[in-house]
């Protein structure tokens, strides 16, 4: 193998962090195994994005076309499949994002290449490619390898590799045009819609007390809200609480909710799935309260309280009120 493809993800004119993270990993592999790193940049008016990554790849293949303004899995799939056929890269990296998770499986069926999703590491041992994945919300890890194939497709979890530049590269820019009219576009983009803003902004909070599915019933949320109020902090939550319509979307922390950066984040009855953890990388100190000592949240937290939240939270609240009264 001589080449690694990195599929550039960008949205509304901005490069997504996942692209930089994949380029870092591709760069690291390239240094160790002397591969070339090729970034595939499909979009419209993307020269500033190309500029951003020009010292992180050996080659940038750019296709600039109005029809590529918005991500479209069908068009991406056809173009990338064509490029794969031409260059025969041994490895193709795609973000494990909403878009990447639509593109990669289609591309896998189209090319016949094996696919491993949501990879958190990539290694080559004796020429054999092995990736690390997680299952059961991070309670179990696995190593996956591949049957012989000209190439492999991997989707990469956000936030596991640094965004830094690695090595010293100067990309050759290759502009390409594709006759997109011949590609049946099956999905028409209409618009982007933002989550409705609320009366509070958890992204600005200094202290968050966050409630998860461990709370059991909607009525019980008041327990956690009272602790948040006693602490003059804000209440936030994990996704299942929003899915059940118990709290509004603007209070959700995580990859599909908000990224927060409080001084202290208290996670109550939250298991610590990576999508949740991605929202609290900016938190100063994380305190987790969970009855399962093996819950992945304890691996991410600074402090932990193992036990039943229904017993612990009232005691914490009383102590806080007592301390405040002085």
């Amino acid at each position: 193998m001589s080449e690694v493809f990195v599929i550039v993800e960008h949205r509304l004119g901005e490069i997504r962090d996942i692209t930089l993270e994949m380029l870092w990993k591709a760069g690291e592999l390239a240094q160790e195994h002397s591969y070339n790193v090729t970034a595939i940049l499909l979009g419209h008016e993307v020269s500033s994005i190309a500029e951003t990554i020009s010292d992180r790849a050996d080659k940038i293949i750019i296709s600039d076309d109005e029809q590529l303004k918005n991500f479209n899995a069908d068009i991406y799939k056809e173009i990338i499949a064509g490029l794969i056929e031409e260059s025969k890269p041994g490895l193709i990296l795609i973000g494990n994002t909403a878009w990447g998770m639509e593109l990669a499986p289609c591309l896998a069926v189209r090319t016949g290449f094996p696919l491993a999703t949501d990879c958190i590491d990539i290694t080559f041992k004796d020429g054999k490619l092995t990736v690390q994945r997680q299952m059961f919300s991070g309670k179990i890890f696995s190593n996956v390898s591949f049957s012989s194939s000209a190439g492999c497709l991997l989707t990469i979890r956000s936030g596991v590799f640094p965004k830094d530049r690695i090595g010293d590269r100067q990309a050759q820019i290759v502009q390409r045009e594709f006759s997109l009219k011949e590609i049946p576009q099956k999905k028409d983009f209409i618009e982007f819609v933002e989550t409705a803003a609320g009366d509070v902004d958890i992204a600005q909070a200094e202290l968050l007390v966050s409630v998860g599915r461990g709370i059991g019933e909607e009525e019980n949320i008041s327990l956690v809200r009272e602790l948040a109020e006693a602490l003059n902090g804000l209440l936030s939550c994990s996704r299942p609480i929003v899915d059940k319509n118990w709290l509004p979307k603007y209070l959700q922390v995580g990859s599909s909710g908000k990224s927060v950066n409080p001084k202290v984040y208290v996670a109550v009855g939250i298991s610590g799935a990576f999508q949740h953890l991605q929202g609290i990388t900016g938190a100063g100190t994380v305190i987790a309260i969970n009855k399962d000592p093996k819950a992945p949240i304890f691996r991410a937290a600074d402090y932990g309280i193992v036990g039943d939240l229904f017993k612990i939270i009232p005691v914490l609240k009383e102590k806080v009120l007592e301390t405040r009264k002085g």
Binding site: R11, K319, T323
Partner: protein, 260 residues
């Protein structure tokens, strides 16, 4: 509106100590309780809501063992019209390509307007079967779907992107939509409801009836090893009686400057 929903039965693993099996290829499952995959619960509910609005049928399909029929019965109790189980022996020998090949072969012969899958299965967490089935069938698709409206032979879908941004698209039917949690509020199913649904059709098909070659089903990914997470430093656990824990808690908050 004829809708096929692909569903998977998965183990419940919160608050359970998971152990790796002796071959290190999976986890020990004999002590675990099983449920319908959360995402599929939303998918089946969405199919039933669309049926209630537009008429038509809902069919639930699983590739699995006799024990997996439990989740099909649940789907029937929720309001699916019929269910199909594909008996394929030990399902763990397939990778996502294999599962997708089987599902698409079964669905292909159906009259359908929509196929639903979940975004993810809670156990293996691959998140690829849906889009693979779409590609195998050569039909339109959308992932991470959190809203669907049907109008004039098209689906207007909202897909959820990172940061909670919604991407609204229009796609012509037939289409495959991978459903994200939160799209609806799945209805409650009682034991009685499940018993009542026992009369509904649950068809079992054998993999051999589908005419897929072993070659097509052979896995392209190999599970080398399954293992418990490496020990890391982890959190400092507060110990002692509740009062001591509460004092420590307040002390940490004070130190971090948020008690002021």
């Amino acid at each position: 509106m004829d809708i096929v929903v692909c569903v998977k039965r998965v183990p419940l693993t919160e608050e359970v100590d998971l152990a790796v099996d002796e071959h290190k290829k999976g986890i020990k499952k004999d002590q675990l309780a099983f449920v319908l995959n959360d995402w599929d619960n939303y998918a089946i509910e969405e199919a039933i809501l669309l049926k209630e609005k537009h008429g038509g049928t809902v069919t639930a399909i699983t590739v699995g063992s006799e024990e997996d029929e439990e989740v099909l019965r649940r789907c029937l109790a929720m309001g699916a019209d019929r269910a199909i189980r594909i008996e394929a022996g030990d399902v763990s020998r397939f990778d996502s390509f294999g599962i997708s090949k089987i599902l698409s072969r079964v669905v292909k012969d159906f009259p359908f307007d929509l196929v639903f899958t979940g975004v993810l299965a809670d156990d293996d967490y691959c998140g690829m079967v849906g889009m693979m089935v779409a590609e195998e069938l050569g039909i339109n698709h959308a992932n991470m779907v959190i809203a669907i409206e049907i109008e004039n032979g098209k689906a207007r879908t909202t897909s959820e992107l990172e940061g909670g941004l919604g991407e609204v698209s229009s796609i012509a039917l037939p289409a495959l939509l991978a459903i994200q949690t939160g799209i609806n509020e799945p209805r409650y199913v009682s034991i009685l409801g499940i018993r009542k649904a026992a009369k509904k059709e649950l068809k079992v098909m054998d993999l051999s009836e589908l005419g897929i070659s072993d070659e097509e089903l052979s896995p392209r990914t190999i599970i080398e090893e399954v293992y418990l997470p490496p020990e890391t430093e982890g959190a400092q656990i507060l110990t002692g009686d509740p009062d001591k824990i509460a004092s420590d808690f307040v002390e940490i908050l004070t130190k971090k400057g948020v008690m002021g």
